[in-house]
Assembly symmetry: C2
DNA sequence: GCTACATCCTCTAGCGGCTAGAGGTTCAAG
DNA sequence: CTTGAACCTCTAGCCGCTAGAGGATGTAGC
């Protein structure tokens, strides 16, 4: 009924050192051990680790996941805090997209350079002189 | 005529420990020193550090910057390689935007949850069960 | 020349989120 | 009982900085 760390790893697609790391930082509880000190996991641990993995894939930071896991364990509570954490994360993602989009536009403008000599290369020019940027944000 | 590290820092808006770090990893050449071992910089160093800072702001990795600096020092060369490095970086940026956009859409769908109990919260549900994602990419 | 003190120096450690490797032990199948 | 895959702990490394301890230097004013 119990799983080795390797089996847990295969079921969740989380690498073994990562599982041990999550235990170390307290995201996963310490599992029971065999007499020889090998870890043995229960189905509950599979669910918890899947939750963690999925949240990481969605870009939540470990601290946020720690909070989400705490809240998830309290079924009667109102999910306002969960909503807030997710909203805050969403705002950060939007922010990142905005910054990367500006970056993309700048780089697109730069790569129009058509293989001249370095001394006339638009890319080098822009890098060397900030004022030649279209986007003056940064 | 020569600048202290503090003056260089103010002129380029690069923090002092970062300047020393760039020297350590070989992005900046070792400057001359006073008898008491304090660093003294020339105007050339200001230009080089500005280049580095700008490239970092545009998201280039240190290794890429190292290459760009090498190429920039050779004015007669064709800038094909510069173009390639920039294009590769641009592609990565585009990739990141695509992934973050999918993420954003997923999170947007999740935050529609209207403050129910945790046990019915859409966010918790989605996190706990991957199949409830709209985006099945990840 | 002397004092005060801002600025500089080196060195080490920490951030986040893992990942890799050394060197040794345990488990389960045959 | 032997084999060998899988496990264990511990340490160090990745990136690009950033912070702090503890001490030395440089410069301005007297």
């Amino acid at each position: 009924m119990s799983l080795t760390i390797g089996e847990l790893s295969r079921k969740t697609e989380v690498k073994i050192p990562t599982i041990r790391y999550y235990e170390q930082i307290g995201l996963l509880a310490e599992p029971t051990r065999t007499e020889g000190q090998q870890r043995r996991y229960r189905p509950e641990d599979v669910r918890r680790l899947n939750f963690i993995r999925h949240a990481r894939e969605l870009g939540f930071e470990v601290e946020a996941i720690r909070q989400l896991l705490g809240l998830a364990g309290d079924p009667d509570r109102c999910c306002g805090e969960v909503h807030d954490i997710t909203k805050a994360h969403l705002d950060e993602v939007k922010d990142k997209i905005a910054r990367l989009t500006a970056l993309r536009d700048e780089l697109e403008a730069m790569v129009t350079c058509d293989h001249r000599q370095i001394s006339e290369c638009r890319i080098i020019e822009v890098l060397a002189d900030h004022r030649k940027c279209h986007n003056t944000q940064h």
